[in-house]
Amino acid sequence: MYAQLVKTDAARLRTLDEMDPQERAFQERIDAGEKIEPKEWMPEGYRKTLVRQISQHAHSEIVGQLPEGNWITRAPTLERKAILLAKVQDEAGHGLYLYCAAETLGISRDEMYAQLHSGKAKYSSIFNYPTLSWADIGAIGWLVDGAAIMNQVPLQRCSYGPYARAMVRICKEESFHQRQGFHIMSVLAKGSDAQKAMAQDALDRWWWPSLMMFGPSDDASVHSAQSMAWNIKQDSNDALRQKFVDQTVPQARFLGLTVPDPDLAWNEEKGGFDFGQPDWDEFYAVIAGNGPCNRERLQARKDAWDEGAWFREGLSAHARKKADRRMAQAA
């Protein structure tokens, strides 16, 4: 998913009896499934955690434009080019909805950008891997958007109103993203030997990073427990990962592709697949900034921001001039 390892500042989960009346009333509203709206009282921890989570999600959407944007100019047909353009445009739109949702919590988009550029705010580890072939565009839609859907669908019912509503809009588009990716893969899997090899190579490279998107096991994490109590997280990382594997493995088999996991086996008893663990050392290395593309991705965002400063300043200056002229006319 696009928000991994979100900290809550909670040392431990408190019971209703331990809360002061205001916080208790807040928690009871959440327990009753009510939505919290921007102007309403909320605990500082809830606000801060949501800012972290939503901004991480927003940053992921905009950094996520880069690996796919890479292939727009090289898309193999006009139809594929148009579909990919539409998809990447959607992702930028998702970023916009999410920044707006986070802004309702009292942080500006510029502040969030500053946190991204300084490395203080994270984005999903998945976007630090390179897109080396056209099949990677298929794999991203199929696997990465597929994994994103897993936790975004339940987030449509999360407790914070603006976040939940942003998710409703986003989810409508994500299933189209997943389908176009799967379709690219299915055409390649039915294509020439070179195309089949391209598809298999993409699956080999994207499989484990996709499983890492759900984050390490959080069954013992107080942060996850707190987020769940607040209803801004609904399922454990392991549960989502299991769901993703169970959904995706049959699709890979349908495509005639091999999932690169020797431990993968159907477990009749649990009614799901047993599977191996991703290399968590690699995950932490990528999170710490040492993935194959971390530097390029962040630099590309910083360059876009710095080189665009004159543009943004120009627009603001014009808006000020216009307002001044209007004032002068009115006077």
Binding site: W310, F311, E313, G314
Partner: protein
């Protein structure tokens, strides 16, 4: 397939000229994806590129159908070499800074919209239909690019300087839009499109009005760089095609 090897019919030539402009400008705009100065601009540029690629599919689809040689729109986009491309030199010019990209778009849109409006009266119904659909999209492109030229021209000292520099650089590529050649004369004679020169007054008055509001000076040098429409391009187009056509060239005949 080279420019003069086969003389294309006027309808094919017109569709190629329109379609290639859309394809190459759409390509240039899509290069910004994820790198533009503001999230809203990423979205707007992708949207414009998407419109232009959609229009490419229509125009090149018409060119393919009208030439009747069994080629598809994709064949035309991905399997022609530089001399067979019919786009204006303007649209293949590199993006430069964001100001140059916006200025290129504005100069082109200011021609594109009146051209499409004129094409709605074409003697061929398919041309008129494509033009009608495209002109709705392009009206919005022009509104947007003109608005940005005004705001940036009349913004800060730096944004003004950059927009003036972009205008001075691109001005010499504007003239090609109005310089008719023998093929244009045939296209006009077939009732498909107006003589290019006839669009100059409406272009000029719109551009001058916007530049005046933007506090930008109309360049004095009216020398026009020409050649794109007849297949003589700048050095840039070859690199665009090398990138765009890579997969089709590396895996001939594959389906995607």
């Amino acid at each position: 397939m080279a420019g003069h090897a086969v003389q294309t019919a006027p309808l094919v030539e017109l569709a190629l000229r329109m379609g290639d402009n859309c394809l190459i400008l759409g390509h240039r705009n899509s290069e910004w994806c994820g790198h533009s100065p503001a999230l809203e601009e990423d979205i707007a540029l992708a949207n414009m590129a998407l419109d232009l690629i959609g229009q490419t599919q229509l125009w090149l689809g018409l060119a393919a159908e009208a030439e009747g040689r069994g080629r598809s729109a994709d064949d035309l986009a991905y399997l022609r070499d530089v001399p067979a491309f019919r786009n204006l030199l303007l649209v293949e010019q590199p993006n430069g800074d964001f100001g140059r990209t916006i200025m290129r778009q504005f100069l082109f849109d200011s021609w594109h919209l009146p051209m499409l409006r004129a094409l709605q009266g074409a003697s061929d119904e398919r041309v008129a239909e494509i033009a009608e659909k495209a002109s709705k999209e392009v009206a919005y492109h022009l509104e947007r690019s003109g608005d940005l030229v005004i705001r940036l021209g009349d913004g800060t000292e730096e944004s003004h300087r950059r927009m003036q520099a972009a205008l001075d650089l691109l001005w010499s590529y504007a003239g090609e839009m109005f310089a008719g050649d023998a093929r244009d004369a045939e296209i006009a004679a077939a009732g498909l499109a107006p003589e290019p020169d006839s669009l100059r007054p409406v272009w000029r008055s719109h551009v001058e009005a916007v530049l005046a509001e933007a506090t930008l000076a109309v360049p004095q040098n009216d020398y026009a760089q020409k050649g794109g429409k007849s297949g003589r391009h700048s050095e840039h187009l070859g690199f665009i095609l090398a990138e765009m056509q890579f997969l089709q060239r590396a895996y001939p005949g594959a389906a995607w």
